[in-house]
Amino acid sequence: MRVVEKRQLLSAEEIDRTLQRLAHEIVEKSGGANDLALIGVRRRGVPLSERLAKQIRGFAHVASPVGTLDITLYRDDLSTIDHQPVVQSTQIDFPVDDRDLVIVDDVLYTGRTIRAAMNGLFDLGRPRRIRLCVLIDRGHRELPVEASFVGRSVQTTDTEIVEVRLQEIDGEERVMLVDRVE
């Protein structure tokens, strides 16, 4: 099976502008940023959450805490796969009780990752509210999960893959739509 690039969805500059807009939306719809905390889902939600926090600090002058969540232990497909995926650390060094949490991830697809992320957060306490912010919503939900903040909605087919490349992880910055061909 090969993977071919179909088109670019976002350039580096567009990613940056999208994140600026998302940061403003988050603060506006939260009535300020005082109780906000951002939770980046490994892997690419992590740099995105850090960038959003930096934006918020820049214009709202509030240092929102940022945490990192690894959802591996909460996946719903572990009993069906042969080799267990590597577990990484979850680093949320602040109490989530009564916090206004925003889960940050790169792509919203089936919704299963976000279900797992919410389970992980509940193990840490009882947040006042949990919302979701994603760079790309590509549809094809398998669970009743929707994002409160969406960078861009994209129509995709089942075989297509949305590839988010971020400087911090991939050494380049763009979002592509690729397709699997036999």
């Binding site: 690419r44 690894d70 232990l73 909460y74 497909d77 572990l78 009993s79 069906t80 796969i81 042969d82 080799h83 267990q84 590597v86 577990v87 990484q88 650390s89 979850t90 680093q91 991830d105 790169d106 792509v107 697809y109 089936t110 299963r112 990752t113 389970n119 509940f122 193990d123 840490l124 306490g125 893959i161 949305v162 590839e163 988010v164």
Partner: protein, 323 residues
Amino acid sequence: MLQRLSHLLGTEVLSHEQILFLLDQAKPFQEFQRHPLKKLATLRGKTVAIAFFESSTRTRISFTTAAARLGADTMALQAESSSLKKGESLIDTVRTLEAMRPDGIVIRHASSGAPAFVAERLEIPVLNAGDGTHEHPTQALLDALTIRDRKGKLEDWNVTILGDILHSRVARSNIHLLSKFGTRITLCGPAMWVPRALENLAPNLRVTHRIEEALEGADVVMVLRVQTERIHEPALAADEYIAGYQLTPARLRLARPDALVLHPGPIVRGLEIDSAVADGPQSGVLEQVTNGLAVRMALLYHLIGGAPTDAPHPAKDRSNASD
């Protein structure tokens, strides 16, 4: 990687990479011990048989708790239970357990090699929780994790092991593990427990019967429990052992000032170790207990998680880079 590890029988057979992988995988489970809600559903529906043919409290509780925190159920067989007393053979007992369809089995047995014997005959992963005088691999892994945490790295330390080395599976597993990381190991204790022949166990290993010599320059001091059944006149009196080999604050001062003191437990205070050392700032004893849970959770997750080997489940082919 761990892909080829289907049992945990000992540290001697583990590669350098497998050990590092397991220690890295224990890390998230260390953090997990601090969560307010210590219950995962990761291994929900899995069952771990805990077959202890030799009595144990700490290791059994640790494995049982590790399984419970991952969401697995356990079925326990204890040394005191009736079938063993009635003369049932090891293989008949484990085959009976296997017929109840557990997903893995944790074994402690007084005979060296019992877990390997069982592993050859059963289809499920076997975890050695201590076999005779052979190995106690999870103890060595949790010791290694404690050393790495407290001293920043695992490589190149001077490690001194004190006590009854000859009969100690903890010592053997530690020697096999640490020697893969360039550790210089000193074994020390009475001559009848620390024969010269032990020097052949691993490279960079020396034997001494003088505790002062053993402690000088040590970065880590592992104190073994003295099995009281082995202490008897005229071979060795308790006060002779105390005089010659007890780890006291004065003796610990011969080691490096930041030397870490480990003990696999249970501690016999006033025999192999002075209370002031066991409870002192250099002691890592309680961290060892917590780290034991983390190591055992990581092992259970990787060994018994996933699709059962006898019934391969078609893995879902829904591989989006982001989902």
